[in-house]
Point group: C2
């Protein structure tokens, strides 16, 4: 199986993500081989559906973080890091399959989501299969501590997803509540993906804390950038539709900030499109205009940048190396997708 | 938390299930406490929904099998068997929540299923949460071997569910294919529930094989009886609607046998109601009549009884004891629910 980033996105040839893929290409080829092998099943619908998602040129960002962190920690014992990296991607894939059913998205990675091709039931059950396979891989990796980290992350992710569901269309959501949602639903898996590496490499607790913190803050920055991209990027850049969050009535940080800064008609506008979920023709444009006017997109991006800075600074406990510098550069790259 | 079987079903006071609950009442109280504790979350929707399902008077049959098997194996080291038993119930509960969305059932344990109260999205995500919590508990139990058994069972269950989905309305399904579905979707968890006990008790491989085999065959018998009950029992006896499988166009062993024995009009009838899924007023009655006339219900029950006999015989490697005899009696009880 080829590494999708290499073939699908030649314009990223010089990007930090690409440099990281290059530094980790043998590892990522091994991870891809495990992913391909473990999505097989005599029940044909499973590999068909899984291949549509997992083979669809996803960024493989999370497993890349696991293998790069393992390299940084000098891990060279066996293939436990590859198995854990594949497990991380399977957890992420299972989440995406279930999210598509929950969110009713129209696009996923620039393609029709699996549930619109094979139906909701298939997406739910194949998601369950991939999630279970993730745990099979963790058992094979053999580290009970890594299992604890990833199983805890999995329950935290589900908790975050339920919290987000419960807050759907709740325009009065606080910033704290929102940050708690994205910490759970997005950043927890990034943090687990990086933390398992020092754990299996048996590195000191300071390195473990630093890498977990790096993953957590990278994950927060990543989600906040995603939230702004949903209102400000180009559709082709992200492989998702612009305005998805808006159409679903999803309350994200930019919306919370724009709503809190609004008054009169503008406040009523947000209540109508989010709380009452009554939207028509030009509402998305008005939302984008309000998000820009109130500085909500800019300030969300500033917050993302501050998490990014912290993620980078935390890596300074490791000695300088091309790998460390590329992990740092990756953070900037994630944040600067907006440009 | 009370043990539901005791309060909700006083008519079962002398049943083998009740005797087994009595012999294991301290263990089951400990399991219930873990279940109640681990379904908690600051995200209120999670305990609300989970309590509706887990607290709704489920049979707790699978965790009971784990603790009774642990007793039979003389396990007395710590509370790993309670944690594994609770994990087994969480895996089962997660499967039920997802099944309700997939099957669109009208009743679950005699109640409205959670997805009809809180919506499909909540059922999917809370199912994911319970599944993840199951793995948290397994990690705490500390046996990598038990984790391997239960994570493998989890992927096998999902595989069986997908296989069943792919075969929906496939009246030409073979008996072998059907047995492979129920072995995966139902019997695998029974087998894992009993096998983990000798594993953590570090018992010889013969006991491990015997208990896994006991669980597997009990599970097969259980599912085959369920399949006949869906056409022959009283609605109140099972807490599920009669004819659910029929209305969903689910092909079960009785239907396969009735179809294979049918000719002319009757064969066309099965094609219409299952393959074309065109059903009207008296079709369920005609289906029941054909199932009886062809002996399909009786022969399915005979097969269930032969698995039950094998399950019982396999326990003879253990010395006679009230617990062993009650585990044997439980098998007859499960099969004789039909009467």
């Amino acid at each position: 199986m080829v590494i999708p980033a290499k073939q699908a996105q030649p314009d990223r040839a010089q990007s930090p993500a690409q440099r990281l893929f290059d530094l980790s290409s043998d590892d990522m080829a091994a991870v891809d081989a495990i992913i391909l092998d473990r999505m097989q099943s005599p029940v044909g619908l499973i590999p068909n559906l899984a291949h549509h998602l997992v083979g669809a040129g996803g960024k493989r960002l999370r497993p890349l973080l696991t293998v790069a962190s393992a390299q940084l920690c000098g891990y060279n014992a066996d293939d436990a890091h590859h198995k854990l990296a594949a497990a991380v991607e399977f957890i992420h894939s299972a989440t995406l399959l279930h999210d598509d059913v929950v969110d009713e998205s129209a696009l996923r990675r620039g393609q029709k989501p699996a549930n619109l091709i094979w139906g909701n039931s298939a997406s739910i059950l194949v998601g369950d299969f991939l999630f279970a396979r993730a745990f099979n891989l963790m058992v094979e990796a053999g580290s009970m501590e890594a299992l604890g980290i990833l199983s805890t992350a999995s329950s935290v992710i589900a908790e975050g997803e339920v919290q987000q569901l419960a807050a759907l269309r709740d325009i009065a959501m606080t910033e704290d509540a929102y940050m708690s949602v994205i910490k759970a639903k997005t950043a927890a898996l990034f943090a687990a993906a990086t933390e398992v590496a020092p754990v299996i490499a048996d590195r000191p607790v300071a390195e473990r804390d630093a890498l977990r913190d790096y993953g957590l803050k990278l994950g927060l920055a990543f989600q906040l950038v995603d939230d702004t991209l949903d209102y400000g990027g180009m559709e082709s850049a992200l492989g998702k539709s612009i305005g998805d969050d808006f159409r679903e009535g999803k309350v994200t940080l930019p919306v919370i900030r724009a709503y809190n800064a609004a008054s009169g008609d503008d406040k009523d506008f947000w209540k109508r499109v989010i709380v009452d979920h009554e939207q028509s023709g030009t509402d998305l444009e008005r939302a984008v205009s309000l998000l820009r006017k109130t500085g909500a997109l800019t300030s969300t991006l500033e917050l993302a940048k501050s998490y990014a800075d912290e993620a980078q600074a935390g890596l300074d406990i490791f000695p300088p190396s091309p790998l460390r510098d590329t992990l740092k550069a990756l953070v900037s790259y994630v944040v600067e997708r907006i440009n």
